[in-house]
Amino acid sequence: MSLLEIENLSLAIGGTPILQEVELAIAPGEVVGLVGESGSGKSMTALTIMRLLPHLARADGRVTFDGIDLLAASEDQMCTLRGDDIGMVFQEPMTALNPVKTIGEQVAEGIRWHTKAGRAEAEERARKMLDRVGLPGTKFPLSRYPHELSGGQRQRVVIAIACALKPKLLIADEPTTALDVVLQAQILDLLRDLVSENRMGLLLISHDLAVVTEMSDRLTILRRGEVMEAGDTARTLSAQHHPYTRELALASMHVPARPKTHQAGSAKPLLEVEGVSRAYPGRRMSLFRPAQPVRAVDNVSLTIEPAQSVALVGRSGCGKSTLARMILALDKPTAGAIRFRGEVITGKAEAALKPARRDMQVVFQDPYGSFDPRQKVEKLVAEPLHLLEKQPTRAERREMVAHALDEVGLGARDMDKYPHEFSGGQRQRLSIARAIITRPKLVVADEPVSALDVSIRAQILDLFAELNQKLGIAYLFITHDLTVARAMSDEVLVMHEGKIVERGRTADILDNPRSEAAQALVAAAPDLHRAIARRMQEQG
């Protein structure tokens, strides 16, 4: 018998249909993956099970959990189920914990509420649970506050809260999307262990087909609120009967065509970074001991040649973004020099940096946050034009914006729109248009596709590849995602704790990592081919 059974579930919020006739079942001890792109209704399915939907939502159909009709249950009944029989883990560990309460209080709270246990007993159980999720008492006493923990540690606390009472069903909504691959692998291992220990059912929601394939026995593919395909993971993904399943699988493994590969050593370097360090003042531990500076970037050297694509990979917090900020002259190194086209740019005045800024542009991760919502596309894309020697006339400016929009697959008619009128992928195209309008020689792209859905991501990677081939733009791709590095770069630099620990041709490094840091990254990176092959063996 199924633990959870969703039959014919439809959901509308304020009249807008969100889910249509969704079917899903989970048995005890089973892991079911729910895959789909953003807006497909994955999270809303989870919130329907939890009955934590927004006010105007209306759900029809049947959701049965352990014999209880959840859609008909009273709020009191739901409160006894939530946190006791059904636990939930959310995507964003940085904001999922109450910042003013200790982790002990937050884990013990649910235990006390449901079991009526006393404070001491609840704290003892909370302690055990935190030990179980990998936060031992010696390093993580109950009195720690969330801000004293890293993202991965916070996600462990959230899992401890959700699993404290050994729920029959755990819903994990993109539990690892905000974490780097190494942390992701650790958290997924933890979830897998908790499932087998307690015969817990797990509904794993993710946009990442590789993660879901590695984890789940069965999967359900959702698109625009409708189930496209459902079944055993191995069979579904090997047969790929449904065109959308095929589309998703292909997009996840997409490698853009780059016929002209770069030959190293063929030209004078475009960018030279020499022994660059960036230290931040450390936190003072006592009044009398001087604070030890923290070295975010430690004696890093690298070169990028014209039209070369270099990937800088590493775990979160390894110093990638700090290094990028220094290359872009947004931050000053505490030691070392950065030369762009042979000229030193470190320590130069803003006015003297103008030519360098013109030839060096940036694309950021978040296409939502990097545009002023009150300005039109024409103005936003034309922003870097003030760096030109000769200021273009209004007509010339429109011409240039139209050209840049055309190059990224948008049209001149988009010029008079506002950013909110575009989808996430289109917005990332806008930021690329803004980056290439001055005809730069180098584009620094900081996690440019990690906020995008797989199909959009494939398109954006194609666009990056095309611009590299057509305009000869060199790239510095900063990413923790090895598939992006593999798809896009000629050379890979592996960064760990502020240092470059390994460098070489992309295929060499990713197939044959030598340093410990690179090996950890490669081992942890989810890989759809590998995952499907393993599933095939297990499920026959």
Partner: protein, 315 residues
């Protein structure tokens, strides 16, 4: 923690010093010679000059400031030009009226505002919220002296529950004294409570949309428990900030309210002193009020650290 508190303390102290310089400078610039004022317009120039020397008014600016500021530290504010008694004696009589008045008003506005804010936020967009926020809008718009007149009419003239004005002194017993402060405190507190309730509501609504509220709900806590246990404390920071800022307005408000209720407080003292060009009294009372505001805001800063562990630094 100690580093944070120490830093706040230093900032507060330097603000106080800066404020004393400004107050002293403004009084210097204002026209009117205190010596001439004390002696009357019939006095001769040499008489005035003699008094000026006696009062130390002819000394250079910096030593005069240091003398005055040093006096402030030892609670020696100088002598009133009109009453010829030490200013500290005048202040001492009045502070025992104004300080309790301000504190009662502050407490009242918090006691009213926080529950109203919670009520409104938890019923966002519904009838109860609209009603409460409509009342708050009225409270913000109507001046406090008008409230004061309405309160006098209702509770003193009509219901005869409390006196319409005046202060019997603390010697008459605690209850009669508090009773005569009640109406003025309510009149002071209501407009403040109205603003504070709106701030509390919007802060709470923002917090209720945070991810950790959803985490708490997913634990099985009912909505009300989540509101009181998780949301309220996080919403306290903006509420405390406004509370600290309001204290200054509260003190300014006492000048009007004390006149309406005929209370012998600092507000009326300073009002009379301005009329009589008794600048040294004005100077002293203003400095006291400045100090009170700075101290209250220092307490607000300390309470941030109590509410929010992130400000305490690593343990």
């Amino acid at each position: 923690m100690t580093a944070y508190l120490l830093k706040r303390l230093i900032i507060a102290a330097s603000t106080l010093v800066l404020a004393s310089m400004v107050v002293f400078a403004v009084m210097e610039i204002l026209p009117g010679d205190p010596a001439r004022l004390m002696l009357g317009f019939n006095a001769g120039a040499d008489q005035v000059e003699q008094l000026r020397n006696q009062m130390g008014l002819n000394a250079p600016l910096v030593p005069r400031y240091l003398h005055w500021a040093g006096g402030l530290l030892s609670l020696d504010f100088g002598r009133s030009y009109t009453y010829s008694v030490p200013v500290i004696d005048l202040v001492r009589e009045r502070v025992v009226v104004s300080l309790p008045l301000a504190l009662i008003a502050l407490a009242l506005s918090t006691i009213i505002a926080v529950p109203v804010g919670v009520f409104s936020a938890s019923r966002q967009g519904r009838a109860g919220d609209a009603l409460a926020m409509g009342a708050a809008q009225l409270g913000v718009a109507v001046p406090n002296f008008w409230f004061a007149l309405m309160l006098i009419y209702l509770f003193a003239v009509w219901l005869r529950l409390v006196p319409a004005g005046g202060f019997p002194g603390w010697g008459a017993g605690i209850w009669p004294a508090v009773k005569s402060l009640l109406l003025p405190a309510v009149a002071l507190a209501l407009p403040q409570a109205a603003i504070l309730a709106r701030v509390a509501r919007s802060a709470l609504i923002e917090v209720l949309n945070e991810d950790y509220i959803r985490t708490a709900r997913a634990k099985g806590l009912p909505y009300r428990a989540v509101l009181w246990r998780h949301a309220l404390r996080n919403a306290m920071i903006p509420v405390l900030t406004i509370l600290g800022l309001q204290f200054a307005f509260l003190l300014a408000g006492t000048i009007i309210i004390e006149n309406v209720f005929y209370l012998p407080g600092l507000g009326r003292l300073v009002f009379q002193a301005i009329n009589q060009r008794d600048l040294i009294v004005v100077e002293s009372v203003v400095m006291l009020l400045v100090a009170a505001v700075i101290i209250v805001n220092l307490l607000v800063d300390f309470s941030y650290a109590v509410v929010d562990p992130r400000l305490r630094g690593r343990q």
